[in-house]
């Protein structure tokens, strides 16, 4: 479902499949380290199975020869015993390798996935900026499965295939070297043809997957956008476009299946050359008395046994190469180093403090728990090597103060807040908390003291209460109701069918945009944070509700540090200080009155909020960029 073959992420599948990368597989193979015992069982059971596969024709040969040579005097019971022993051994080893392989496969996949998940929780936002959710999902689901399959069953196929082929070769050579060499000549040819074909088949299978992921995406879009498609009467046009995809899928699939349909007969026919050779040459030897009839029967049986291991090995090599892109991608995720992380000193401090008795007023990293002030000194920030989004930002805020950020969209307001919350770190300059560079403090301490309400409010599936409780996992029902009341959400929640226990649907689909914002606000209130960030948090809320929230917010902000980004200046007016952020710089800074007196950008913005002014200013405004 989460294939991403259409998304160019810089990993070229075909280029990466060109040659076998041993280093990469060695790295991946370390994931089987905790399962050494199972790995040994897997390999020995595989080898044992292969040996049994080789032994059966030998027993048959013994029986046939005994009967042919000794007639009624033949003692068959040793063979019977051997046969029974082989059969039991085979059954046990088949069961054994499936058990061991299954354990390796499922556990390795769990381990990679868990490691990936934990790293995803650490990685900076900058990692997410360039990777869509679908891409990450594909790594964590299908790629994990694919690689763990290769690691477990690949070992099996390899050990089994190699042992069977070696075993057959040795058995044949011992029985009759000349005939054996004749017949074995065909194996390299078979292997070569097999690997060539399998690679081609896997290549066209990739095209099938690619088209399939487009089809899935198309279904997804058709469901997500169904109202829009209906409103714009797009039904027929969309279906036409979809038909192109299904026709492409038909062509790709038929091509893939045709290749497979050609491959099997060709390999079978090649293998039958060995049977023919064994029959003709072996028959002549039998005539001449050079070999026994049992040997000929065994040779004929062996020639048919080539096919399986050759096919398996061919497929395994091809899959190994084709999966290299998956392997590189998942390693890029698991091994990515978070740009924002605790320094070694901080990690050490946290470890030291863990053993000490808990002290009041001190955080887990040994520093003060309370945030008294935040100061930005010459902060600059750029995403990657792009042009800076923030330049020379300087300001200080103390506990109990609220900073309002205003300015045009794209001016850097949200980025500034993200830097303060240490989701990004400054490219140059520093953010000081209690006059200490926040890079010298624990990341978790800072961020667990945050409360954020974002414009694109996010709701998790579950009940409304669950969503609010996310701010404080052990909150009582009373606390939840209290937070919802302050956030102005209580009234609408009570009107819902099941009140606080109403399911919000996936991503909160059953709530309107405004309702989601109110729930998010309640969540932040419940978290009782030292820093509260409101990023366009009430844009979808009606004016009356907003006015109510305003009171709650004012009460909430006392004693804390607040950052408010808003377009509605009624929210902003009461801030301790207002910063106008334009083009990544603070262009105006001061109290409401100071900025009004300045008659600059803030003054213009503020005046626009007045209805009477709006109408009057319209003509003038349309001539200016917003």
């Amino acid at each position: 479902m989460f294939d991403d073959a259409n998304y160019d992420d810089g990993f070229d599948e075909l280029a990466l499949a060109r040659r076998l990368r041993m280093g990469l597989w060695k790295k991946l193979f370390t994931y089987t380290k905790p399962y050494r015992k199972e790995l040994i069982i897997l390999a020995s059971c595989a080898a044992l199975t292969a040996l049994m596969d080789v032994a059966y024709p030998l027993i048959t040969r013994g029986v046939v020869d005994a009967v042919a040579a000794e007639g009624t005097q033949a003692q068959l019971w040793p063979y019977l015993l051997a046969y029974a022993a082989c059969t039991v051994t085979l059954s046990l080893s088949v069961g054994g390798f499936i058990w061991a392989g299954g354990k390796i496969r499922t556990h390795v996949s769990y381990d990679i996935r868990q490691e990936g998940f934990e790293n995803l929780q650490r990685l900076s936002f900058s990692f997410y900026d360039f990777r869509p959710v679908g891409w990450l999902m594909a790594r964590m689901t299908s790629d994990c499965e694919r690689l763990s399959n290769i690691l477990a069953w690949g070992v099996l196929d390899f050990v089994w295939g190699v042992t069977v082929m070696t075993g057959i070769a040795i058995a044949m050579l011992i029985m009759n070297a000349k005939l054996a060499l004749l017949v074995l000549m065909i194996i390299p040819v078979l292997l070569w043809v097999s690997a060539k074909f399998q690679k081609r088949i896997l290549g066209s299978a990739r095209e099938v997957r690619r088209t399939n992921s487009r089809i899935t995406a198309s279904y997804n879009e058709s469901i997500m956008g169904v109202l829009t498609s209906k409103a714009f009467v797009r039904e027929a046009a969309n279906l036409d476009e979809f038909r192109n995809l299904t026709n492409g899928m038909y062509d790709a699939s038929v091509k893939n299946l045709t290749q497979a349909a050609i491959y099997v007969p060709i390999v079978l026919t090649l293998a039958s050359l060995a049977t023919g050779l064994a029959l003709a040459v072996g028959g002549l030897d039998l005539l001449g008395g050079a070999i026994s009839v049992g040997t000929l029967v065994a040779f004929l049986a062996y020639t048919r046994h080539f096919f399986d291991p050759v096919e398996q090995l061919g497929r395994w090599f091809a899959e190994l190469q084709m999966a290299q892109a998956s392997a590189e991608r998942i390693m890029s995720l698991v091994q990515a180093v978070p740009e924002v992380r605790d320094s070694d000193d901080v990690i050490e401090a946290i470890a030291r403090n863990r053993d000490l008795p808990k002290r009041e007023n001190y955080a887990e990293d040994g520093g003060a728990a309370r945030i008294e002030s935040i100061e930005l000194k010459d902060v600059c920030f750029a995403y990657g090597n792009a042009t800076p989004v923030l330049r020379d930002i300087n300001f200080r805020v103390n506990a109990g103060e609220t900073i309002a950020l205003v300015g045009p969209t794209g001016g850097g307001k949200s980025t500034l807040v993200n830097v303060i919350c240490r989701f990004y770190e400054p490219t140059s300059g520093a953010v000081l908390i209690n006059d200490v560079d926040y890079r010298k403090r624990g990341l978790h301490w800072l961020q667990s003291n945050l409360g954020m309400v974002l414009q694109q409010a996010h709701a998790f599936s579950g009940t409304i209460a669950d969503n609010i409780r996310y701010g404080k996992l052990d909150a009582t029902q009373d606390e939840i109701v209290q937070a919802a009341t302050i956030a102005g959400a209580h009234a609408f929640i009570l009107e819902m069918e099941k009140g606080y226990d109403t399911q919000v649907g996936e991503s909160g689909s059953k709530l309107s945009a405004g309702q989601k914002q109110l729930v998010s606000f309640a969540r932040a209130i419940l978290a009782d944070p030292q820093i509260l960030v409101m990023d366009e948090a009430t844009s979808s809320v009606d004016t009356e509700t907003e006015a109510q929230i305003q009171q709650g917010l004012n009460a909430m902000l006392s004693g804390r540090i607040g950052f408010v980004i808003a377009h509605r200046l009624s929210t902003i007016r009461s801030a301790t200080r207002i910063l106008v952020v334009e083009g990544g710089r603070i262009t105006e800074s001061g109290t409401h009155t100071e900025l009004m007196t300045l008659r600059g950008h803030y003054f213009e913005l503020y005046r626009q909020q007045s209805l009477n002014q709006t109408t009057r200013a319209l003509g003038e405004l349309t001539l200016r960029p917003a």
């Binding site: 479902m1 059969t87 085979l90 059954s91 499936i98 058990w99 392989g101 299954g102 996949s109 868990q114 998940f117 929780q121 650490r122 997410y128 959710v133 679908g134 689901t141 089809i215 279904y219 879009e221 956008g225 169904v226 109202l227 209906k230 409103a231 279906l239 699939s253 299946l257 045709t258 099997v264 060709i266 079978l268 039958s272 049977t275 023919g276 029959l279 028959g283 002549l284 039998l286 009839v293 029967v297 045009p408 919350c421 667990s448 996010h458 996310y470 996992l473 309107s512 309702q515 009606d542 004016t543 009356e544 409401h592 009004m596 007196t597 008659r599 005046r607 209805l611 319209l618 405004l621």
Partner: protein, 614 residues
């Protein structure tokens, strides 16, 4: 016939491809016959050589062998052996050709069926009533359209022929075995029914486990997806540990279920091998005893062993195949759950082309759940070209009115008229083409900006497009994108802000130039300055469209011809700004909030005048 009855069961969906399946199975049979030839040739050759009696050989090789001896000289037995060897290869090659034909036939047949199903599902998803999507889970729907279709495809492309092959094999091999040696034949097939039944019993038992494992995987994926989409909230509340534990539980559950499943498979295959090799052992040793009697030839025993090996595999596979068909039936059922849902009804398109734009709601009552109406006895008449604004608290029924107007949902009572014509009697497509709508949470297709703008009017000239984008105050933002109007939107392209998405959706509706324009809280994420520009553009367009505006900001609504205050599905107040502000009520409260702001602003401006630098 509706789509659902056409796809009722596995037999019905093969309609149109049955002939192709027929020849695939025949080709498979021919391939099998040819493949049996090789061991038979081996048997004859061994017997001929061991007994030194050409009479034991196959006539197809012994007669030409005699000709060759007469023509070229040499040993008769040698020629026989050479011909047998060539025959074995030739027979395999011929079998291979049939095998290829089978593969091709099955591929074309299954892909054609699946293509038809995919297209039907897609068409149907577009034609379904909007109601269906209220409780629909997107992930689940997509899974039905992708994984379930894939399950069915696997069944159609390999399993149908596999079943045919197993049946054909048993039917052809058994007579050959009995023809060669009756006693040994009975022994040879003695354990086969148990193997087959055992396989079936096992796989029907683990079927529930398959399902449990699938569900565990689904749960894990859901937690993962939610974590990734909400990663900013996770970080903002430093909930990494909580999330990691939550995920680990699901991850481990999937691992353990999957592991248990594989372990059971281990037991199954181990036991199967015991039985299968036991069967071959019985034949080997019984055969050996009969050879001692002189009642069986070595060649016959060799042929027996080979044939049993041949039918053993497909019979072992039957268990899996039967499970697969079980899964295919379930998958088809899940698809039919969608296909059986009622589509929107089809009504005739009115003869006149463009509507005037007169809208009337008459005693309209509606509830998503009819017992809890959200619109009650709603009456409103809107003249062509008029602008009506609707305000009200969340849940008052504002968006529902728009859904009714678009006929996305059927109202329970009353009627809605467009140009005096009941919309329940006209084609939905025509109705919707008369209305340009900007939804609250606008959806954009993952295509280029231009293609998104064009959806309502694919043939719109470039300058119209730019004009619409300028009116929606988005033209400059588009121009500033790297590829301008050709920039891709969505995950694989640029990420647009909420306000940009709203403005793009607005431009899309304006470009359609419809008689009726509907904006559902479409400027909420747009800053005040931009809003003012958009409103002034609207002013210039006044009279061109009948316009319905839902908004929270006074600035967006106060210039409307009439303003409707909606409260719990009823009109609480109606009138223009001047009328409403004069009467006590919700609207006046709204104005007072804004009014006190205005006053403040005026005061502030006045108060700070002294320090002006301008």
């Amino acid at each position: 016939m509706t789509t659902a009855t056409k796809n009722d069961n596995l037999w019905k969906i093969t309609a149109g491809q049955r002939a192709r399946y027929g020849w695939s199975i025949v080709a498979m049979a021919a391939a099998n016959l040819a493949m049996f030839g090789a061991p038979m040739i081996g048997k004859f050759a061994i017997d001929v050589v061991v007994a030194d009696d050409l009479g034991l050989g196959a006539a197809v090789f012994s007669i030409p062998a005699q000709w060759l001896v007469e023509g070229l000289g040499g040993n008769l037995l040698v020629w026989y052996l050479v011909l047998s060897a060539v025959g074995a290869v030739a027979v395999t090659a011929i079998g291979g050709i049939f095998l290829f034909l089978r593969g091709l036939g099955a591929a074309i047949a299954s892909e054609a069926i699946v293509r038809r199903l995919r297209e039907e599902l897609y068409r149907h998803l577009h034609a379904l009533q909007a109601k269906f999507y209220d409780d629909a889970d997107t992930g689940d729907l997509v899974q039905r359209c992708s994984s379930d279709v894939e399950t069915l495809r696997v069944f159609l492309s390999s399993d149908i022929v596999e079943v045919g092959r197993a049946i054909l094999l048993v039917l052809t091999v058994t007579p050959i075995l009995f023809w060669m040696d009756e006693r040994l034949a009975w022994l040879s097939i003695a354990l086969l029914p148990f193997i087959g039944i055992g396989a079936y019993a096992f796989f029907s038992k683990v079927k529930s486990l398959f399902q449990v494992t699938d569900e565990a995987e689904g749960e894990m994926t859901a937690v993962l997806q939610e974590n990734l989409t909400g990663i900013r909230v996770v970080r903002a509340f430093a909930r990494q540990e909580y999330e990691t534990t939550k995920f680990a539980v699901r991850n481990a559950k999937f691992r353990d279920h999957n592991n248990r499943l594989i372990r059971l498979m281990g037991v199954y295959w181990g036991t199967q091998d015991l039985f299968c090799n036991g069967q071959i052992g019985v034949v080997l040793f019984a055969g050996a005893l009969w050879i001692l009697d002189g009642t069986l030839t070595v060649g016959t025993l060799f042929a027996f062993m080979t044939y049993i090996g041949m039918i053993m595999w497909p019979i072992r596979q039957m268990g899996r195949v039967l499970t697969d068909s079980g899964k295919a039936v379930v998958a088809l059922g899940r698809m039919n759950d969608i296909l059986r849902q009622t589509e929107e009804s089809l009504e005739p398109t009115p003869r006149h082309g463009r509507a005037e734009g007169a809208i009337e709601f008459r005693d309209v009552t509606f509830g998503y759940d009819p017992a809890r109406p959200v619109i009650r006895d709603f009456n409103l008449s809107i003249a062509p070209g008029e602008t009506v604004a609707i305000v009200g608290a969340p849940g008052a029924g504002k968006s529902s009115l728009i859904r009714l107007l678009l006929r996305l949902y059927p109202h329970q009572k009353g009627s809605i008229l467009l140009d005096g014509r009941d919309i329940a009697g006209v084609s939905r497509q025509w109705l919707r083409s008369q209305i340009g709508v900007v939804l609250q949470d606008p959806f954009l297709y993952s295509r280029s900006v231009a293609q998104n703008l064009n959806v309502g009017r694919p043939d719109a000239p470039r300058d119209h497009m730019i004009a619409a984008a300028s009116d929606a105050a988005i033209h400059e933002s588009i121009e500033s994108l790297q590829n301008g109007y050709d920039a891709m939107v969505g995950e694989r392209g640029v990420t647009l802000s909420g306000g940009q998405r709203q403005r793009l959706a607005l431009a899309r509706a304006l470009l359609k130039d419809p008689p009726v324009l509907v904006l559902d809280d479409s400027l909420s994420a747009v800053d005040t300055g931009t809003e003012a520009r958009i409103l002034s553009a609207f002013d210039a367009r006044r009279g061109r469209h009948t316009t319905l505006i839902i908004a929270h900001r006074l600035s967006s609504v106060r210039n409307a011809d009439r303003i409707v205050v909606l409260d719990h599905g009823r009109i609480a107040q109606i009138g223009d700004h001047a009328t409403l502000i004069a009467a006590p009520g919700a609207y006046r409260r709204l104005c007072e909030i804004q009014g006190s702001l205005d006053e403040q602003i005026a005061n502030d401006v006045k108060r700070t005048r002294g320090g002006s630098h301008v």
